[in-house]
């Protein structure tokens, strides 16, 4: 097919002096406001690295594995709301990014990945370190592009950033052959919107907003079900305003954690597979559900047919494809969460729901999160509770994936958005520590904590050295249960406790930390937990690994088994 024709409304402008493709790339990053990018060099990206050598204001953070670069870019983006950037060389470098890019796709995180490619003349010849990276990443990016002309470097990068951050955010990849990076050109940057044909709808239609206002005002048992879209859209203020004005209870998805102050009594915390009993009961009994920036993921809904069986749905999302995908929407509203919730909050009338609240409060009293503390053993939930207490919910917490993730989701109550960073859609082990590093680069003045499992930490812990090199004040709390705990739990519940490949023999993490030049603390008894956490939170000049030996037999409850419903919820009583 013919080369893409320049969209008519986009002018080429800003002529400048001659530069190499790589220098144009760096200049384009600068223009997008990129101050830090995470990456690892290699043959095909040598020209890019040479250009970065001169760029004082675009700081490159060298990681030890490209997966870490991608996760750090995600952590950076989720903590800051800006686009995260990562870079890798061709072939193995680029394929090492794949997990992180997929993670960004599933959780709608704005990330731009820049990869080196083999020179144009040998593309398609199985050249050394050649991989068809635009082919590989086609289903896991919002858009990707192989740059075949040096004049196309600047516009491609501009389009990449625009697409990554607008509409439903997501990852974008730009693949640049080495000879394109080396070639000279006079760069031309686009002026105005770089992708004029892409224009997401932002304001819901007034008619639908009125319909939503009426449905909420007449509701007897309404619930707001809020997801990560609130955080992407910076709509926390509007969500809180709507909840306060109507007194409608709010439940949050894993991705939506912190979308409103979780210590607010209007907030019921997380729903879904490991959500609170009261949040799940409320949704189960609701007659009207306002879903916003959420996608009815199976970890939230369980068996779709039985999810919120009495409810009619108002569904707000920037992505029209989400509306009606899993559950029919009675009032569909395509738009930006901030704008639509703003309009709703301005017009909403409070329904009469005192009886509904009495019911919810009764559930909340009766079924709080709880845990047992066996003699001498440290319960992981206790540690999570202490982290919440010591930080007051004001730290940024990044978690890995597994039991500890769900316990942190249950016990950590962020006071606001961009404070809970966890791999939701993809459930990527190895995510937590690199994401915490990315968050710390984005927010150096905030307390950032990584809470990881003994299994997941071992997937990316080689990058402890990166945290040491940059003297990052970063406590890494390992909830060490000597197991792939979540796998062991499923085996206990659903496979006759046959612990196939789920028990870990671990290295001594504290000593590993010391070998990297970090601090390491090993905690074996409950009475040591508080002091160790307090100390780790106070360290300001480098990472601290706190290896906490936890009760290996603890299960994460409540739990709605996969594909089941609230009726089958396993409750710890």
């Amino acid at each position: 097919m013919a080369r893409q024709i320049e969209p008519p409304s986009t002018k080429r402008a800003s002529r400048a002096k001659t530069m190499t493709g790589a220098q144009v790339l760096v200049e384009a990053l600068r223009r997008e406001g990129v101050e830090v990018l995470f990456g690892h060099p290699g043959g095909a990206s040598l020209p890019i690295y040479d250009a970065l050598y001169d760029a004082r204001d675009v700081r490159h953070i060298l990681v030890r594995h490209e997966q870490v670069a991608a996760h750090a870019a995600v952590g950076f983006a989720r903590a800051s709301g800006k686009v995260g950037v990562c870079t890798a060389t061709s072939g193995p470098g680029a394929t090492n990014l794949v997990t992180g890019i997929t993670d960004a796709m599933m959780d709608s995180v704005p990330v731009v990945a820049i990869t080196g490619q083999v020179p144009r003349p040998v593309i398609g010849n199985d050249a050394f370190q050649e991989a068809d990276v635009t082919g590989v990443t086609m289903p896991i990016t919002k858009w990707n592009h192989l740059v075949m002309d040096v004049g196309d470097v600047a516009p491609s990068v501009q389009r990449a950033f625009y697409l990554a951050r607008t509409g439903r955010p997501g990852p974008v990849l730009v693949d640049i052959p080495r000879d394109v990076s080396q070639e000279s050109c006079t760069p031309e940057f686009l002026e105005g919107v770089p992708v004029p044909e892409y224009h997401p709808a932002l304001d819901g239609t007034p008619k639908q907003i009125t319909a939503a206002v009426e449905m909420l005002a007449a509701a007897e048992r309404p619930v707001i079900y809020a997801g990560g879209g609130i955080i992407s859209a910076e709509a926390s203020v509007e969500l809180t305003a709507l909840a306060e004005r109507t007194r409608i209870p709010v439940t949050l998805t894993l991705m939506g954690k912190g979308a409103m102050d979780e210590t607010d009594p209007l907030c019921l915390g997380m729903l879904g597979m490991h959500g609170s009993v009261f949040a799940n009961y409320a949704v189960n009994e609701a007659d009207v559900i306002l879903a916003v920036g959420a996608r009815f993921d199976d970890r939230v809904t369980g068996r779709l047919r039985d999810f919120a069986p009495k409810a009619r749905f108002i569904h707000i999302d920037i992505d029209p494809a989400e509306i009606g995908k899993n559950k029919p929407a009675h009032v569909p509203i395509v738009g930006d969460a901030k704008r639509v919730l703003g309009a709703l909050a301005a017009q909403a009338r409070a329904p009469k729901i005192d009886g509904w609240w009495a019911q919810i409060e009764e559930w909340r009293q009766r079924y709080p999160f709880r845990y047992r503390q066996r003699d001498g053993a440290i319960s992981a939930q206790y540690v999570c509770e202490q982290i919440n207490r010591l930080t007051g919910g004001s730290a940024i917490v990044a978690t890995d994936v597994g039991q500890h993730q769900m316990w942190m989701a249950q016990w950590y109550r962020p006071r606001g958005p961009r404070s809970f960073i966890s791999s939701g859609g993809l459930g990527t082990m190895g995510f937590g520590f690199p994401a915490a590093m990315g968050a710390k680069f984005a927010c150096p003045d905030r307390q950032v904590i990584a809470v990881v499992g003994d299994g997941g930490f071992q997937m990316t812990m080689q990058d402890l050295i990166t945290a040491v090199v940059h003297r990052m004040a970063l406590p890494i709390i390992i909830l060490n249960n000597g197991a792939l705990g979540m796998v062991r739990q499923w085996q206990t519940f659903f496979y006759h406790d046959r612990r196939s490949a789920s028990i870990l023999r671990n290295p001594d993490f504290a000593r590993i930390a010391e070998a990297f030049g970090a601090r390491g603390i090993r905690v074996e008894r409950p009475e040591q937990v508080d002091a160790a956490l307090t100390m780790a939170l106070a360290v300001e000049d480098g990472p601290v690994v706190v290896d906490i030996l936890c009760d290996p037999e603890e299960n994460c409850l409540p739990m709605i088994p996969s594909g089941q419903s609230v009726a089958e919820m396993i409750i710890d009583e």
Binding site: A2, R3, Q4, M138, L146, L163, P320, A321
Partner: protein, 165 residues
């Protein structure tokens, strides 16, 4: 899997490298069979039209169109199930034909307004245009003579009247 039917989706795409793969990949990923797919330029040289016929559960068709619209290179995607449309397909059919059976085949061709586009002492090639069912019908009538080869373009579709497809 719930019951399936064939649905037609018309897609306007940017005429740029990789678009066909993106569209096909999006459908493949959902485990759906592409019944036919035809691509060609439109009145605007920057834009191509794809007409895709897929086997899909009826309630999934609109979801398909929505997912297709999310591809940056897709300008428009419409599920044209139920709309009044003109649907056409072209087929080339190479059938065994001896001097003794030629007349009979010509008769069939006449009824279906098919053109004879090639003739040898053993074969005849017909060109027929119409809805898919019409092509199916002529194929079944010709089958007793022995069909050697068939090439079908797949369906192309436009909505009737001034409204855009």
């Amino acid at each position: 899997m719930s019951e399936t039917h064939t649905a037609t989706i018309s897609v306007l795409v940017e005429n740029s490298p990789g678009v066909l793969v993106r569209v096909a990949g999006l459908i493949r990923r959902r485990g759906v069979n592409i019944h036919s797919l035809s691509v060609g330029p439109t009145e605007n040289p920057a834009v191509s039209r794809m007409t895709i016929v897929v086997d899909t559960p009826p309630d999934r068709t609109e979801q398909f169109a929505k997912q297709l619209r999310k591809l940056v290179e897709v300008r428009r995607a419409t599920s044209i199930d139920g709309a009044a449309t003109v649907d056409r397909e072209l087929a080339l059919i190479k059938v065994n034909a001896t001097p003794g059976t030629r007349m009979e085949i010509m008769e069939i061709a006449n009824v279906f307004r098919a053109n004879v586009v090639d003739l040898t002492d053993r074969t005849m090639t017909l060109e027929v245009t119409g809805k898919g069912e019409k092509v199916d019908a002529i194929l079944s009538l010709l089958s007793k003579h022995g069909i050697r080869e068939v090439a079908r373009t797949g369906q192309v579709t436009l909505v009737r009247g001034p409204q855009a497809t």
